[in-house]
Symmetry: D2
Subunit: 98 residues, 4 copies
């Protein structure tokens, strides 16, 4: 399939800003380890970073459904819509299993 | 919003069969506890039941995107499509946090 | 390994009561499907049942760490403790991936 | 509570190496966005990074149980062991909800 403009196109700056924040959080985790921070406090922060990363995933999923999937449906291409929905559900499954 | 026929309408029998299987698995968990099964073996089975339940959730999500969300988009109702996408993303978020 | 009394032994009644509640919730899901409940409302309830089931898993994990793992450590059997910790971490991994 | 040496102390280098790899993966995600990569391919990679991060969490949890929790139990301090187990279960709960 040709995918054209990605669904997150208009939010690229926001997505990038959130990913840079996640990158900073991962560097923060390294500092916690270097400073011998108590295990549970590190784990709490690992969960926070995971949540932030999942948040980016949810934003990308939202934009994908809003633009790519709904766009295919609005264009009347049923086969493409079905393929995109199947693919989106599989992506959610990978998020759940991660 | 009026929701009309649910997206899983044509798969009702399959969804119900899977939920009955999950119900049987939950009863199986009770038997394991009654028989003093080793903790880790019970936990392995808890994870299997969770996975089966998430599988039903993924099927419902797929049908919802395929019929309700794509249907709204195909009908050209952009506001309704946007509202349904937002709602679907929130549902995925609840699945991730569960 | 011989496992003896499971870690949840003293909480058996509570574990069973929670599993019976989960079983009732799964039957409730079947009713929602039979009554053609809106997809998203069913998904919200699927997430609630998943959370309740994970709660039982967390209770079992807690009791396992408290009695079986800590018990092995208190008895001074380092090899057994190591094996039990490895096994517990693997169980948590399966819960995360479910 | 005084926590002393963290459980991951002997694996610090490995934990740091894995976190640096996660940091690189998060930068890789930013490149994917900048290059307008297809939404689903980005989501697949988000799930992979989440999994890598959870893997670090599982390693930290394993070391914590192995050294801190088992250490408290081996020292015969029941109250401290109970407190550490409770805290560890809460940490697992946060990982599950992340």
């Amino acid at each position: 399939m040709d995918h054209g403009t990605p669904g997150y196109h208009d939010d690229k700056k926001q997505v990038l800003a959130r990913l840079r924040r996640v990158e900073g959080q991962v560097r923060g985790l390294q500092r916690l380890i270097e400073e011998d921070t108590y295990c549970i406090d590190v784990l709490t922060q690992v969960a926070a970073v995971s949540k932030a990363l999942q948040g980016v995933g949810l934003l990308l999923l939202d934009e994908h459904l809003r633009h790519c999937v709904a766009g295919a449906a609005a264009s009347g291409d049923g086969d493409r819509t079905d393929a995109l929905v199947h693919e989106a559900t599989k992506a959610v499954e990978r998020m759940l299993r991660a």
